[in-house]
Symmetry: C2
Subunit: 344 residues, 2 copies
Amino acid sequence: MFDNKERTHLDKIGEFGLIDLIHKAVEINEASTIKGIGDDAAVIQHEGKQTLISTDLLLEGIHFDLRYVPLKHLGYKAVQVNLSDIYAMNGIASQITFSIGLSSKFPLEAIEEIYEGAILACKKYGVDLVGGDTSASKQGLVISVTSIGYALAEEVTYRDGAGEGDLIGVSGDLGGAYVGLQLLEREKQIFLENPQVQPDLEGKDYIIERQLKPEARKDIVYLFRELKIKPTAMIDVSDGLASEILHICRQSNKGCRIYEEKIPIDPMTYETARSFNLDPTVCALSGGEDYELLFTIKQADYEKIKGDLDISIIGHITEESAGCSLVSKSGNMHPITAQGWNAF
Amino acid sequence: MFDNKERTHLDKIGEFGLIDLIHKAVEINEASTIKGIGDDAAVIQHEGKQTLISTDLLLEGIHFDLRYVPLKHLGYKAVQVNLSDIYAMNGIASQITFSIGLSSKFPLEAIEEIYEGAILACKKYGVDLVGGDTSASKQGLVISVTSIGYALAEEVTYRDGAGEGDLIGVSGDLGGAYVGLQLLEREKQIFLENPQVQPDLEGKDYIIERQLKPEARKDIVYLFRELKIKPTAMIDVSDGLASEILHICRQSNKGCRIYEEKIPIDPMTYETARSFNLDPTVCALSGGEDYELLFTIKQADYEKIKGDLDISIIGHITEESAGCSLVSKSGNMHPITAQGWNAF
């Protein structure tokens, strides 16, 4: 991608050399991008629309492990994860900034791979990379992504709009990214104990990809527009279904009932979870990183969406005093609980 | 600031507890902020204006040393540095996102200090803190700030508009932040060798403050509007005068002549540099972190601005083939050179 073919140490090209290479590798396609990389700030024109801004920090050793995450996938995922927040507002992402802090152990070619992944994601999702920051790091790889998107005021979907009786829907399937991570962690341990053993991930492509290369659900935002549905609330599934539905209920001052049997879990996720002695439902509830969209819609919209195989209706919103419950396959009620990271 | 008075370990309050505390400490004042912290993305309305976006990554051990940077100043500076890029576009900053990665060694009170500084900067500059990310870090303190601003299309000032004969101006004075850093580094070394010795920074408040608590020059943007001046090019002085004027000249396809005797250097900066056997002019050219605004204006605007004590005219733009030169006090010409970080 960079016009440079040998292994190159960063101190040879310096900061401005690196910025030049990145600048040349980046295309600008969005009409709203007035100015991208190369000035103090990017300039964006969104006439008559509201601007959406979201930002994520990704740190080596916390969000990714370079022992099994390919750099290109890392760049791709860093962008996806952030775009997902714009789609979760029912908006269209249009620009990102991509910042990176890296130590001298990375040759230019490694940075190139990260940007290749980031730029691939930009192309696929139709967003422009318009800026960022490059820095030396004494502390491993640091990536920070900010997404900019837009929507008409009446399109923007918040977390606090869920109403009593609304149906709870989710796109795709859940738990796969977490179970994929367990597989990668197992193979890493085996490799650390015996570097001769090749990783055994055969036939597990789907869940490995769910972990390494998630896809933000831009298509669902377009689906809603096509079906003329405006969700009453929406959030993306980054921390697990349990955590996300609690965000919606808490901010909407409502309760909910989720039915275990309705939670979409891919057969491979299910079987692999079982082989790790994990409960597949717990993986879906608490695993996270699926980057599907969790939303609530009015009952009147059910007819429009019920035929879509990629959408599952998994429960409904109740009054606040009813609390947030999971109805298990055996019919028992369990309170839904969740927490954010506990890496401290 | 946070409603919490004892030393608190982060694992006691968790991610969501921390976000709640931050959310409650943050006020929203800007009319353009439709939605701040608390959803997947912030929502901003800038009817008819162009949106400006800038982002910075600040890493412990590269951009700051916690052995002498107070946390509150760190939060303040992180915001300033980023707002400075919006002002350098001749725009008005209106929102920021503030992300932080921190290890468990930080108690809640330390985070509180960082946010206190950030929120103080927001209040002073009239911007809303509308989002961010909080993460655990295995790698020391990481801060990422993104600023959002706006301007009318005809107000936005790029780096590439300098014309032959334009005057080169700079706000405030230069080199102080770098000389202040030398003082702090010296005292750190003395402290490391003998922890009983108290730091001797008496009478050096101004240059210490230039380093620890720089002020972005929002006032200069307003001054231009008041004087009805539109700079032809502008950039903020983060890497030193030399590097910044080269950016303007390179992007404008022009050369320049800067006069050493016109470069504004505070007497305290001058004397302290001398006491370190440093050339004060070199400190101004290559020191960086002054966060003043460097700009070019048409000669016709000179009359409007010449009376302003806070602005120095230091040279002029030439044709590209003349190169970029510094005319020394003795009348000799030196080519201007610069590089970005070389921390690799």
